[in-house]
Symmetry: C2
């Protein structure tokens, strides 16, 4: 059902506040209006476009990646609290997909999630020991993948990190990463 | 203990026959001689260098990859029998490693193994549903990773593929890939 502009705009504002990474395309589908309408709504509400919103989130104070140089993280880190959680975004480029199906190749989603699992560790050295991953839904070229990493805890000298990746709030990838870290290997507990 | 040339050469020949992918460096370490000695041994025994040996293996008759264009396989496929087994080799380049530690990034080993698991499937469409992977030993720049995929069987509409990757016969990576394929999804059993 199409809502009136007066009803739509506050809901739109709320939706974007909930998920700053949502694209105009996704919003248009959500509210059953054209992308152009969403753009006009944003203009009236003074809400910047998604790229700018992401930069804003990124500018907010957050921890610095410790276990690897930030440029070695696959995707853009937009939130990080060491040993707690991290978020990164990855735009799926044409060259990331299988030519025949247009479906993103699994190792790109794996790379984003795995490097985020490394990045979230508060240690100078972090290496992946095990990973258990599921590809939940197909990702296509042009889509934006938001990966969310959460540190679950330490177990048997490993730190367990769970990563869930979404496209427009749909779960597309889920992984549990068991991370080796220097600190735990030397017997010091965090 | 250093062997005499007369004793070493037959053993060297046997070693290479067992594992055509073994490098001169690894052979030198194995026999406790210099790389130069290995090269001279190979010359006398008329055994080509490792690159040529790999090409020879590759030229031998094997099946053609079906589920994706061969150039989309990460690594070089050197043996393939569809729905049975496959072997690929990947040379770890400088850009595949973490700058700080020189250790190969997990997603490259994952990419090699995962694309081999796709390649071994005898179907026009194969996608990864789940993967359970372990990184067993660190791989450094310049090393050659030999991945061996084995089709274990079909279970719950998925084909299970096990991949083990080696550097000089040491296990460095192990993965179980649960593959979705068109054939099984339409109810036809292989």
């Amino acid at each position: 059902m199409k809502l009136s502009k007066r009803k739509r705009q506050p809901m739109l504002k709320e939706k974007i506040a909930e998920n700053p990474f949502i694209t105009d395309d996704a919003l248009a589908a959500e509210f059953n209006v054209s992308v152009q309408t969403i753009r006009l709504d944003r203009l009236e509400l003074n809400i910047p476009e998604v790229r700018e919103r992401i930069k804003d989130v990124a500018k907010q104070q957050y921890d610095t990646v410790k276990a690897l140089p930030i440029e070695e993280v696959i995707g853009e880190v937009v939130d990080l609290e060491l040993d707690d959680h991290a978020i990164s975004i990855l735009d799926i480029k044409e060259e990331y997909v299988f030519s025949r199906t247009g479906i993103a190749r699994g190792h790109h989603l794996f790379a984003q999630a795995n490097s985020l699992a490394v990045a979230v560790i508060d240690d100078d050295l972090a290496l992946t020991a095990n990973a258990n991953v599921s590809f939940k839904s197909q990702v296509k070229s042009g889509q934006r993948v938001v990966a969310k990493a959460k540190v679950i805890g330490n177990q048997n000298n490993r730190t367990l990190v769970e990563v869930k990746s979404y496209v427009d709030q749909e779960l597309v990838f889920k992984g549990s990463f068991s991370m080796f870290r220097e600190e735990l290997s030397t017997g010091r507990e965090t």
